[in-house]
Amino acid sequence: MHRYIIKRLLFLIPTVLGVTLIIFFVMNVTPGNPGRMILGPNATAAEVEAMNEELGYNNPVIVRWFNYLKGIVTEGDFGQSYTTKLNVFDELWPRFLITLRLAILVLLLSVCIGVPLGILSAVKQNSLMDTIPTMIAFFLAAVPSFVVGILLMYVFALKLNWFPSFGLKSTRHYVLPVIAATICELSAYLRFTKSSMLESIRQDYVRTARAKGVAERTVIWKHALKNALLPVVTSIGMRFGCLLAGMVTTEQLFSIPGVGSLIVQSISTKDEPMVIGCAVMVSICFTLLMIGVDLVYAFIDPRIRAKYSKRR
């Protein structure tokens, strides 16, 4: 198991290499350049050219990529932002922590509500306990998150004045954005858990358990749920990773300085070092998450545990 974890951690290196290379190339083929973005439309072509030269943007892609990697390896330096001239890491880290805090809250809430609701609606299939949550989940999945956000803002911030509508100064500030993001996440977990649970309830081994005379509650919790959780755990890992980079709408709507909005801003200003910094951060998180998912998997499923442990 330890060997496996180390192997997976080492795999981070090629992952980061690949991610950075791809982003350098993609940024290169998209139109525009950072000099023009910084100096604005009134600057002369010569001024823009000089700026690009100064930023090192005129070097070929491969050279820029290589210099970037060299910076990281030799000095642990992720470069400077083209626009703010600040160190990428210094600017990124606090924003990342904000997003991480939001994402963890959203994840906890949506898993704690969505997964039990999914189990319930699978076990009580076709009863009211199933149809009501499922219908609400379908409805919420169909409504874009910004609509939910605006509605929440209108009702609870503007009309009732219970919660502030922007910024993140106090705990109260977290309430509306977390709820807005949770509502969308939750319905995904509900549907996913439900379908996984429905499948596992129909398995032969569940019938075997019933044939032993085991009580229905034990059949569900001991036999069906443990098997149904495997795909749910994967989806939790995946969705959490996506959440880290994908809360742009929520962040924009509630004026939260998170990573998602930073990525969007940096892409539009062609702030190459910043975009890459964000991407590397997210891909490292993703890899760590997936290792976590695998560990949980091995904990639940003996077949996978057997694969990792050395042959007896």
Binding site: N126, Q203, D204, Y205, R207, T208, A209, R210, A211, K212, G213, V214, A215, K222, H223, K226, N227, I300, D301, P302, R303, A306
Partner: protein
């Protein structure tokens, strides 16, 4: 013969599967009985309703779709159809146990086989066995089915198909049931393992004195293990009798004749096997008269219109017009 105790008595049992789209008539007016210690072979092709009948005995039909529409099942004095769920749970696994068809999917992949065998013992622990005693009983059951007890902490994926079927059998036997329902216990296994497993089931039955219903489509298995045989077709019992009646008498339902004719015969030289022509009727839309009429080589006009009566000769009963008419004159 009549003095022996009937432990299981099924009378006029009908079971349907009802969905919004269609109604499947899976078991139609089946009457059967089983004496203590006897083995009944239930023979028929796929889709004849054998497994449905077995699941009805366990009351494990799919909750929403499967329904008993008529008839009664009496098991050791209890009416299985009407028992409250809590009482039924006490019978399941303890008094009636079932060996399932597919050993690859019938075991829970995330629990050790020892835990899965112990579960039934823990659920039906009326004697107040201690944890150690249950452990010892698990070891004993595993030894009984020929698996070293040391392997009880292994998971199902660490066993081969034949070994898994032994585990499934061990689960069914752990509480020493009065009635054992074996639903095609060897269908998923290699022929070599088949013989082993069958022999084991037969030995265990003889040693423990368990009554058994052996569901199969293999006449060879029936000949080896069963005292009585019932042939099922499209949800009906079309012929029932002792093994001797079925295997040695000359009078049979045309479907049973067809079953025997379709067996490869080593003595005579035939280039091809002889299948029964046609397919089983659509269970959502069964024929009005005899359900076998569309495939029957001896079909008469009456067969297409009127469901046949049962012709009885001692222990041997056949549901066919051929014999009923001859008897009346």
């Amino acid at each position: 013969m009549n003095n022996t105790e009937k432990m299981l008595d099924i009378k006029n049992l009908s079971v349907i599967y009802k969905t919004d789209l269609e109604t499947v008539y899976a078991v139609n007016d089946v009457s059967l009985s089983l004496e203590k210690g006897a083995t009944l072979g239930l023979v028929g092709e796929t889709g004849a309703g054998k497994t449905t009948l077995a699941l009805t005995l366990m009351r494990l039909l799919p909750e929403r779709t499967g329904k008993v529409t008529n008839g009664s099942i009496t098991f050791e004095g209890d009416s299985i159809v009407d028992l409250p769920e809590a009482r039924m749970r006490k019978i399941r696994g303890d008094k009636i146990a079932m060996i399932f068809q597919d050993p690859m999917t019938s075991l829970n992949p995330v629990l050790t086989v020892g835990d899965q065998i112990a579960e039934a013992l823990i659920v039906h622990n009326e004697k107040g066995l201690t944890k150690e005693q249950i452990d010892a009983r698990v070891d004993e059951t595993l030894t009984l089915v020929g698996i070293p007890p040391a392997r009880k902490n292994d998971y199902p994926h660490q066993f081969s198909g034949g070994m898994r079927q032994r585990v499934v059998i061990a689960i069914a036997l752990s509480c020493e049931p009065d009635l054992l329902i074996a639903d095609e216990p060897t269908t998923a296994l290699d022929v070599t393992i088949q013989a082993q497993v069958l022999m084991m089931i037969r030995d265990l039955r003889d040693r423990l004195g368990t009554s058994m219903i052996m569901i199969t489509h293999d006449l060879g298995i029936v000949a080896q293990t069963c005292d009585n045989v019932a042939v099922m077709y499209a949800g009906e019992i079309i012929e029932v009798g002792t093994a001797e009646d079925i295997f040695t008498k000359s009078v049979h339902h045309p479907y049973t004749d067809g079953l025997f004719a379709s067996l490869p015969n080593l003595k005579s030289k035939t280039a091809r096997l002889q299948p029964i022509a046609g397919l089983m009727p659509d269970p959502t839309n069964l024929p009005k008269g005899c359900k076998f009429a569309p495939r029957c080589t001896k079909c008469m006009d009456i067969c297409k219109e009127v469901p046949p009566e049962v012709f009885t000769d001692g222990t041997h009963s056949i549901r066919c017009h051929l014999y009923c008419q001859g008897k009346e004159d």
